[in-house]
């Protein structure tokens, strides 16, 4: 326990906890919409392509975070244009994903820095991110949460009931694109904490767990944020304590544990909902 209190006084650990917390809040906020809009594959696709962006960033500017963020915006634009209809979205993501990863491998071949840079992208390395980058991650997470708060109601309307939403004056297509950008940026951020391969543990798992406990959209969103926050902060602290195991291992485990608990407790909660034939 001594090394925890020692680490918690270190600026790098404090910054990491703060940034991871903000990223977790952003992930928790987009999660319920990812589940509702069936965009789990879009999350996976953009996170894997964050790898390509990060590799490009490393090669061009020596900055993986900036590269990943720029890459995610490009990916969001491509998915938005190619996958206008839900039916063709998954296929277009698959197409872009496969090609993008190929480019990522190529770019990494040209990068002669530390080989760990690549594994850090894949499995996350929040402690290795510079203070300036942490500030950037935090600022973007705040922006994502602000945007999600602003578009919450119309996005919920458009996700549940697109035809009526359009008739009521909601610009469903524009909202879909805004959400896609928020998703891509959030996912890229989460990739810094848990790695591109494990992003779903913060962007999907908490929302899927929350959905087991309540049918109120707002409560589900707040629970999703809470679960993501608990998983990422507890995971970071556990990692500091162990000092050999990466935070992503703890974060994904805690997140999964919460899901299993909700899954087991959930049917009981759902069964109490009044039902008539």
């Amino acid at each position: 326990m001594d090394n925890i209190s020692f680490y918690l006084q270190q600026p790098f650990a404090q910054h990491a906890l703060l940034a991871a917390g903000l990223v977790a809040v952003a992930c928790g906020a987009i999660g319920p919409f990812v589940v509702m809009r069936r965009m789990a594959f879009a999350v996976h696709g953009t996170s894997e392509l964050a790898f390509t962006g990060a590799a490009a960033g490393l090669l061009i500017a020596g900055n993986a975070v900036a590269g990943a963020l720029c890459g995610s915006l490009v990916v969001a634009a491509i998915i938005g244009v190619l996958g206008e209809r839900e039916s063709e979205r998954d296929a277009s993501i698959g197409v872009v994903l496969a090609f993008g990863l190929g480019i990522g491998v190529l770019l990494l071949g040209y990068y002669h820095g530390f080989a760990t840079a690549a594994t850090n992208i894949l499995f996350g390395d929040i402690f290795g991110v510079s203070t300036g980058q942490l500030v950037l991650l935090g600022a973007i997470a705040v922006a994502v949460v602000a945007v999600m708060t602003g578009i919450y109601r119309p996005l919920l309307f458009a996700s549940v009931d697109p035809e009526v939403a359009a008739a009521r004056g909601v610009h469903t297509r524009a909202l879909g694109l805004v959400f896609l950008v928020a998703l891509a940026v959030t996912v890229t951020e989460a990739a810094q904490v848990v790695g591109t391969l494990l992003v779903l543990s913060l962007a999907i798992t908490p929302a899927a767990a929350a959905q087991r406990l309540t049918a109120s959209p707002l409560r589900a969103t707040l629970l999703s944020v809470l679960f993501a926050l608990v998983a990422s902060e507890a995971g970071l602290v556990a990692s500091l304590a162990s000092s050999t195991v990466k935070p992503s291992v703890f974060i994904t485990s805690i997140s999964f544990g919460i899901y299993v608990a909700c899954r087991l407790g959930g049917p009981f909660v759902q069964a109490r909902v009044p039902r008539t034939a």
Partner: protein
């Protein structure tokens, strides 16, 4: 039509074309406030397109349309919309009352925070359709009939002047079909809501319908059900011989290709 009462819906020389295909032309129609209008016709006749035009989502190819004296535009508060019955996802994290509330303020920015005045209007709409018992259950777990009642509650929460319903009875069993049509009739009677009801089957709504708009083969016919549902009018409309029989209080149309008429979706 009396000039003193402004029609709820008015179409003048309205035409709709998609490329070379003409859905209908020279459509002139006045629907008085509080009327119950059934829109019928085969698949692809432009029934849903008419609803989209009245919602301001699609523009006419020619002519003019007004709803309550104004050209409709999307987001018009005076128009309620009940879309084609589509089952909602089982695990959707949304309750009936959340769905109804979206009809009131779902287009506004921000979070759906608890507000007394909004809750009161949501409750009023839920009670109007008799959905109180299951309004707090996840919508995805409800039956088709229950979901449809909640969709109607959503559409009437803002107390619209005109209610546009696109095949609201589709995939409902006869009991629920009866319940939903009774409900719409009661709304019209008690609130004076004008109801435009797209359907492929006239019989479930026949007792309530004042007027019928029949679209087919690029032509149209409008009038009371007895005027439109005659062998002569429908034969003229379709360009093939058609017989209309009255069996007790039901209308049976003989001679229309059943494929195009009933399996619309």
């Amino acid at each position: 039509m009396s000039a003193a009462i402004e029609p709820a819906i008015a179409l003048r020389g309205a035409a709709m074309r998609y490329g070379a295909r003409t859905l209908w032309t020279d459509l002139d129609l006045d629907i008085e406030p509080g009327a119950f209008v059934a829109v019928l016709g085969p698949n692809g006749a432009g029934k849903t397109t008419l609803i989209r035009i009245l919602l301001g989502l699609t523009a006419l190819s020619g002519g003019t349309v007004t709803v309550g004296g104004r050209t409709p535009k999307r987001g018009d508060e005076r128009i309620g919309y009940v879309p084609q019955q589509r089952a909602l996802d089982r695990d959707l994290p949304i309750r009936g009352r959340d769905l109804v509330r979206l009809g009131l303020d779902g287009h506004r920015r921000g979070l759906p925070l608890v507000r007394g005045d909004v809750a009161a209007r949501v409750d009023e709409a839920i009670d109007a359709v008799g959905a109180r018992a299951y309004a707090s259950a996840p919508v995805g777990r409800l039956s088709g009939g229950e979901q449809q009642r909640l969709r109607i509650a959503q559409a009437i929460a803002g107390r619209p002047l005109v209610l546009l319903c696109d095949e609201p009875l589709l995939s409902l069993d006869p009991g629920h079909q009866h319940g939903v049509t009774e409900l719409l009739e009661r709304l019209r009677r008690e609130r004076g809501t004008t109801i435009l009801f797209v359907t492929h089957e006239i019989n479930p709504v026949l007792p309530y319908v004042d007027r019928v708009l029949y679209l087919a083969e690029g032509r149209w016919a409008a009038g009371a059900p007895d005027e439109v549902f005659t062998g002569e009018r429908l034969s003229e409309l379709y360009g093939t011989p058609i017989d209309v029989l009255r069996v007790r209080d039901r209308i049976v149309v003989v001679g229309i290709d059943e494929e195009s008429h009933h399996h619309e979706h």
